[in-house]
């Protein structure tokens, strides 16, 4: 059976358009362009309460996303949550006494980790532990606290 040239060209175009669509989805629609998959380094931090923080939540400093939450585990000894964050390798100038807090984007938005730089000369590297942490604000607790405080006054 003979296939005409035009059919071959059309099939080639078809496959090429498929690749273009794939490229568009990966680069423009998804986070593939903003997060480099490899070359990041991991730091961990312990929190008393992480609220509803999820794996893949952004890790940001000064509002810029510089990494992602890689894993959340529970430490049975300290009863704290241990969060592993992957920071992109180009942000390797962070001081070792950087503090981490769990924040909420907007009133109903998702939770993310905000980093605040410290003043140490030493820098964070793979496996570093962030000592200064601030847990997620749980709305119920906050309201409870507020009521308790206003009562005592």
């Amino acid at each position: 059976m003979h296939i005409s040239r035009s059919i071959e060209i059309l099939v080639g175009l078809f496959v090429a358009i498929g690749f273009v669509a794939m490229f568009f989805l990966s680069m423009e629609v998804s986070n593939l362009s903003s997060v480099s998959k490899e070359g990041g380094y991991d730091v961990t931090a312990s929190f008393e309460n992480i609220g509803s923080l999820k794996v893949r939540a952004p890790v940001s400093m000064a509002g810029v996303t510089i990494g992602r939450v890689k894993g959340v585990e529970f430490d049975p000894v300290t009863y704290e949550a241990v969060v592993t964050m992957s920071i992109e390798s180009k942000y390797n100038q962070l001081p070792s006494d950087t503090s981490a807090s769990i924040l909420t984007a907007g009133l109903l938005g998702e939770q993310y980790i905000g980093l605040e730089p410290g003043g140490e000369e030493e820098l964070l590297k793979n496996g570093s532990v962030l000592e200064l942490t601030q847990s997620a604000v749980v709305l119920e607790q906050l309201i409870g606290q507020f009521l308790f405080n206003s009562d005592s006054e």
Partner: protein, 260 residues
Amino acid sequence: MLNYFQRLGVSSLAMLERLGRGSLFFFYILMSIPSVIIRPRLLVAQMYSVGVLSFSLIVVSGLFVGMVLALQGFYTLSDFGAEGALGVVVSASLIRELGPVVTALLFAGRAGSALTAEIGLMKATEQLSGMEMMAVDPMARIMAPRFLAGLLSMPILATLFSAIGVLGGYFIGVGLLGIDEGGFWSQMQAKIDFDQDIVNGLIKSVVFGWVVTWIAIFEGYDAIPTSEGVGRATTRTVVHSAFAILLLDFILTALMFGDV
């Protein structure tokens, strides 16, 4: 009453038998795939009739599905003042669900039924038998290239559907409803994950491509070789494909996104 159980038994046995024959058939196709790799021209011809000819249908459907999603999403999101998340809503639903599923359903209607009819007619007019007697194995010459073409075309079409749909959503959201363009894209990029969303959507479309093409080719091959039999087989292809797609979509979604 007993009669009812007997009929149930007979029909489930028949179904099981068909499933068995279908699996065996699939096994033979797999065995014949190397012969297609030696002769890629056969595959190109089938990519044309299976993939390229479904192109316009997929593009038009994708565009409109994306535009409708944007209109409906905007309506709901504006109640919460979260119009900026429109890009996320459109792209997530397209990439995770509608892209693969709607493409597969359209594909079953367009390419699947055509495959069944073509192979069924080849059987009815003794072309398959004739090929066997010419020492040309219909599995390698007819079935395997069509199967591979379906398997390869589906993910391409589904990706295209999603991409066009996102663009359609963009035209409506940013162009017509006046959502901020930067927010549309950036929220989308922040929320859509390559591994989690795009790769999983791609896996879905490959699975759907496999099951639709398999059903279509088998129904054609197994059709009663009369015009009536071929007609019925064509209908069965569309119905069974639709069931299989929706069932598999549920299973895959539960496996992929169930714990998120």
